[in-house]
Symmetry: D4
Subunit: 218 residues, 8 copies
């Protein structure tokens, strides 16, 4: 288990991270961590490793793309001084190209996505113990599907940035693909994007596995 006693673990991302978290501070009592994978990660850490006292913070914002993250990075990430930072971004960078194709200023194409993500990671690295980069995903099993194909391209960028910067890498698409072999995508999400709790379990599991969580700890 790589997380250590008393550390602060901050998640940033879009609506899949947000899930109705509290504002302005995404932590505290009364479901402040939202209803998604962040809350599940926190719940498992607290239930299985209560002695570590890991502090989890959710700073996801619905609708965000990587450029939105950049705009609020100082206030929502650096100023909060996390020990661990997990980033999952890219869904909206891609989705807007497919659901609002004519409104081009809402799109973030691969070059800008990569440059912005890499800059954020490099700016943050000196200030944190560990970075986790989670790919965006699309709940479509057909890899020839146009939007799935784009999403895979953005996922590959995340992987490359993780490798270059030494961040932990979580391949959420790979984790979902295992489930999509058995279940049609609509079982997990009508819109292929916002999953049911089963989908959030997939995400939480993938994250916890990456940080060395021991599921059978007594």
């Amino acid at each position: 288990m790589q997380l250590q006693k008393g550390q602060k673990l901050l998640f940033i991302g879009d609506s899949i991270t947000d899930c109705e978290r509290a504002r302005p501070d995404g932590e505290g009592l009364f479901g402040a961590l939202g209803k998604g994978y962040v809350s599940l990660v926190d719940a498992f850490l607290q239930a299985v490793y209560p002695e570590l006292g890991i502090r989890v913070v959710n700073m996801g914002c619905s609708g965000n793309n990587v450029v939105h993250l950049e705009e609020r990075w100082q206030e929502d990430v650096l100023d909060r001084k996390p020990d661990w930072l997990s980033i999952m971004i890219g869904t909206n960078d891609v989705w807007r190209q497919y659901d609002m194709p004519f409104i081009k200023e809402s799109h973030v194409y691969p070059d800008r996505y990569e440059a912005t993500l890499r800059a954020l990671v490099e700016r943050t690295k000196p200030h944190v113990s560990q970075l986790v980069l989670m790919t965006p995903f699309y709940l479509e099993s057909n890899k020839q599907d146009a939007m799935r194909s784009s999403m895979d391209q953005y996922g590959a960028i995340v992987k490359q940035v993780a490798e270059e910067t030494g961040a932990l890498f979580v391949d959420t698409q790979l984790a979902f693909d295992a489930v999509l072999k058995e279940l049609y995508a609509a079982t997990l999400a009508w819109d292929r994007v916002h999953p049911t709790q089963a989908g959030h379990v997939v995400l939480a599991r993938a994250f916890l596995n990456a940080v060395g969580f021991d599921w059978n700890k007594g």
Copy 2:
């Protein structure tokens, strides 16, 4: 134009027909016809053929499959004595197989779908001037997709029933496929099922073309 002066045209179906129509009677003032293709058909008939005085009624119900239609057929169709009846059903018959795969009593498989639809058509034929059968559709351009493939199978059943019974046939999937060549499915519907107004225009156009509507009427 096949619709004649003073006729009553009733639409029955699921949420794509329903679109927040008034209850119990799906006709009258204040948007009683809902916000979908039925209201568009009515609006075009009234705007372009006001002299015909066609009375449009919307009896769609969200969540319905063909078995639900059968349960309310006497009250919601026959008792209302329409001159024309348009049926578009099948989305939920198929969708539940893909989004709730473990709850099998919510599924309507092809045999039952075909038998029930045919029985309804034959029971109704003697009482109406004309029947219109519209296929269900799925906003997915990949014909190898499992749910698209199922939906095409149900569409083929509709076509066959239409041919055997002499009903007018509207291939909504074909109409959407033309648009899907240019636009990714998510532009028309996040869930591949409930379309934007552009999608309802596709449906209304397909219906109106089938009944001989003259778009350039002065």
Copy 3:
């Protein structure tokens, strides 16, 4: 078809244009274009000419008269850099003279209406490919009716400004008069002003006809 690939088409006007559009930006997902003729124009463009990728924006504001348009012209029209601009204004300029006759500062009389409209058109012309001027209308078939007579006077001003400036002209009153021969005004609008969807189809048809829309395009 005069609209060309990738162009932005902006509509400005009053409540008949607004129809609950999204704010501050009248475009995007989830019915952002409102429930009136603008949304219908967009839906027909997308359904029939998906390959053109026309971007439609609705900047109507309920209650506006031509002076209100002038106040927000820079921000709501020019700064958005449309290729096409369609203006339909005048209802409230006239209506307030008839429903709030004693509150005279709410009235916009013909001189001011004409001067303001012409100034807006001339200020905008250099920046757009094409301008469309739609008349205001009143759903009253009796041309001797005082308010109908006023509205016709404002419509004539629109026509004159269109001719002088080379804008496309849409005579909405003429389009409605054809329907009012068959249907009493109350069928289209209890208040003679805010029409049902049938009335919005009349408006959308008139607009689309003016820009060379081909209704029978395959």
Copy 4:
């Protein structure tokens, strides 16, 4: 002043009478008489003739036509044993012919209107001290307008029934026509039917004048 100490005065009619009255009993504290002419009549009776202790009851129902009145006559009129009964009905009998022309079962044509109204009056006459018949009205000054013309026909029926049965007669259309000489109809009602408080004052005045109310009583 024809109303006498301790009498109960019941009003029945449609939405113009109803005006959000309390249910099931249209009398009592907290605005139970609604916001229209009935409440004004009551307020003037109480303010000017407090010593008479007239009890006013409002049994109007929005959307009612004369057939609806007949259906609830026993319970809502006879069982309540009023001393005076005032009837104003006919708006919806006519309006539906003009705003829902294709839904013919919602129309009440003159023959049925006259027969039903006369039957109600004759059935009630033995049980009350006095009956007041108020005409329906339409806030349109053009007597050649189709719906105004119809409404005048229904008003003439009311007059004839009043004369034949000895009921007091209140010509509300005549009272409104005096105002419409000075004010355009939209000042009193956007929909020509549901008036502002000024219109309700016209109705209350007409009623009170008919029953001998002394406006200058000390």
Copy 5:
């Protein structure tokens, strides 16, 4: 009738004047004049003297005392340039002495009341055609009651200021006392202050009588 064609008549006061008027401008469509005596005055002027085109404005504010009026006098009275101004204030100046006796800074005692009212009247007189001063009132018939006695004292101040400044004077308490001879106060107002519509008719009648309104005008 002292009000002349095209004049603007502004009412200012407390909750008895306010009655849910529109904000910020207490005039216009949709019940903007509130539900009290101001709306009744307007309705009678419009119904009986439509040819005069009197413009009525309601600037009452719930909870106000005379000091509150002074604070908003420039903006809410003078800047609106009324031809006629009617003031009814004092209820809260007195009431707080009786319902919040320990919070003394909420009280306005007679000296301050008189000085403030007189200053407002004198400041305004040069700018208007006519001023109307209406007394505050208390719906308690027992003149020895402590709060009634105070209210009578404030009413006497209003009378004196009216006489000294040549304003029209309306004795609302006197008008109510006539009704209170017949009806117990609770019939008009549970709290002795905010009357039913019958009470607002008493106020409107008193006002209209003071300005020479002819109730029997044809």
Copy 6:
């Protein structure tokens, strides 16, 4: 202290007793006893005599008069088998005579009040350990006031019934009169009927004093 360990004490009455109690059972968690004197009595019993475990039940109903109590006596009183029963009724019996004077069937005059109350008391006496009769009250210090005078008459009836039946008697009017010597009635209640919490303390104190509550118990 007359209440004994484990006894159930039930209060019945009108809105002054009700005070938003839970329904159908006026006892339990989350403020089920309402916000008035009943809740205060319960709170003092629990805070000062926790060892007694007195169970308090509130069965007050807003708007009730003594006839309403009679209608629900079996279900709401007898079936609940209280050890102690406290009755405070009469406000609405009197009030309706003063705020709705023309609707006479809403009035309960002294004869009927007395007969009904006595019958209820006698019917209940065999089934309970002790009965408490609380007078109705009116927050008006002027005993010549018409409604106060009536209320005193009803209070005298309560006293007489209490004496004849051996019930404990609580003179709430007397308790309030002591406060009204110092405070004007509007401080305790704008409507003279529904008191502030200070008024409910007056009621709770009077009740607790009557049952021998020791305020200085350690």
Copy 7:
């Protein structure tokens, strides 16, 4: 893993099971399984064992004790024909003895609890493949605390019934005690009863461990 392909797993219990599940059927789309441990169990089964297609149903009802379960057993358990049934009941049986001590009919004492639970288990055993009995719990680490002590007594009854009937046994209190060694109870639940998501993870883990769930399945 003891659950087998295609089985139906039904949970019944109180608010800790309920957690805002859908009604009347606690299964389906849109969070129908509620927000507690049942939804977590389902999500883990679907995410990790999608090939099994386990159907999870939540029939918990807030406020229920074992007697309430008995009342709805036929309809909510037996008629739904589950393959697996999990019961967690007892919280309210105990809690009411401590938060509503005077309302004794709301208490379920150990004898009745044991008899009712055993009867339900025995009645159900022939109809299901496997039964799981989960103890109730109390989030209080002090075993001398009165309510904790009671809850342990009820937990012991559950254990005994499980042993006698061969049901799987889940000791939820034991699972929580491990966490309570590190965290004060208020971190998991302000009221010691309704836990945060971390507490529901404790419950879901305990359940899944009991049925042989493999956390490290690929």
Copy 8:
């Protein structure tokens, strides 16, 4: 009785003081003092000592700890110039250590608590007639419980500050302990912190006893 005629008594604290008081000013009509012990103190003062005219003000704020009080002290305490000031703070200073143990900046440890409280008391003493210091409390009868033990430590600090500064001291924990001998904590508060009205009576009694309130005053 130490409170004297016309004095202002201000309460400051956290949610136990706040109880939905009015904002920004915690005094006046319509329940402005909230629903807790402050309102009870006021009600008893007004009901039993109406001749003193004590003005009670509630400036509690939910969630506050002693540092929050310090931040708003000038505006919410000193500027309001009370004669008496009562402080009850500390619940949240302690509770956050137990319900959000990982968010350490939300904790206020004993040193800071003592220093801040003492500074506030000394800063205020010259400006008021009398200060009352009420301990925080925890509704847990087990003194070995970790949070109870902490709360007792903070209570001891309050006692010491009171003694050193000559403030009146109210030991709320002692008052509650007497009740907790008879009733399990959950009867008074599910969360051990926010009591029922019975708990607020305990607080009000303790306060009133400290200021010499005579419960048996005539």
